[in-house]
């Protein structure tokens, strides 16, 4: 249940951003979540809903854009997506892989009224 802590952080950031704009309501939050972060969307939405109650984010739609894991090969410079956590270069077989996507967890933007 790390979703609880994550939901709290999302709410804090959204409330603070909306507060700066003098918003009276947050209607939507666009979140980017990398596959490696292991966020369970259903749980996160549920936790967020609970926490947002009695705030201006109450009823806001939490949109979660999931980002697959991608890698860059340090040997042959190929870029590819990593499936099933196989950290092996699809082109040359090297294991010297740098993860280039899939670890992000950030709020892109919010919609307010």
């Amino acid at each position: 249940m790390h979703e609880m802590g994550i939901a709290q952080n999302i709410l804090d950031i959204a409330l603070s951003a909306a507060g700066k704009e003098g918003a009276s309501k947050i209607t939507r939050i666009n979140l980017v979540a990398g596959e490696l972060r292991g966020v369970v969307p259903l749980q996160l939405t549920f936790c967020f809903g609970l926490m947002a109650k009695d705030t201006i984010a109450s009823g806001a739609y939490l949109n979660i854009e999931e980002v697959p894991v991608s890698g860059h090969c340090n040997d042959c410079s190929a870029d590819f997506s990593i499936k099933e956590y196989e950290y092996v270069c699809l082109k040359c077989g090297s294991t010297k892989i740098q993860v280039t996507g899939g670890t992000e967890l950030s709020i892109k933007d919010i919609e307010i009224e």
Binding site: M1, H2, M4, G5, I6, N9, I10, D12, I13, A14, A17, A18, E21, A23, L31, L36, R37, G38, Y85, E86, Y87, V88, T95, K96, I97, E104, L105, S106, I107, K108, D109, I110, E111, I112, E113
Partner: protein, 223 residues
Amino acid sequence: MKINVMQDVLQANDRIDGENRQLFKKNHNLVLNLMSSPGAGKTSLLEKTAEILAGKLRLGVIVGDIETTRDADRISRFNIPAIQLTTGTACHLDANMVASALPHLELDKIDILVVENVGNLVCPAEFIVGEDYKVMILSVTEGDEKPLKYPLMFRESSLMLINKIDLLQYTNFILEEARANARKINPAIDIIEISCTNGAGLDEWISWLTARHRKKSGGAGHA
């Protein structure tokens, strides 16, 4: 109206992680974030480590537990400072919880600080707390397929200790499978097989630990 935010959700955690890191650097503490599922042997490993390092390197422990203080009690019998954080419902320690324990420790009198995380293979891997290395324990009674089920933890760890190898013959755990599965997720991971019951492999674990302590303290310190 749409407003751009572009903020990392865990930035509050990462900021406190940075503050913890500075404190540890100042005090030349090697810091490990020790993770595993419940019952894999985190506290047993710390007991053994305290026993072996007694008089050589000074250990300190921060223990996260959902309810009881039993683990801290077990560790403080070895005369090492142990701070218990009861996390309530939280399934992991975060940087802020670790920061709250630091004023209760004399960091300048500690060589190696181990943060014993809450028993859980998922959430602890998400939160950095100021550690130099993540170390995880997989015990043979859990199964050799665990790296594939909990990839983030295996991906993030620098060292995997395979514990309870004295029980290997009673399980269907295949060491080679466990190694291959872990290396598939994290080709650079170090792997040491140990038994906290009969002491197998503990010398190799202690060498791993002391080598990293030497590196962190730049040759200074008490080792």
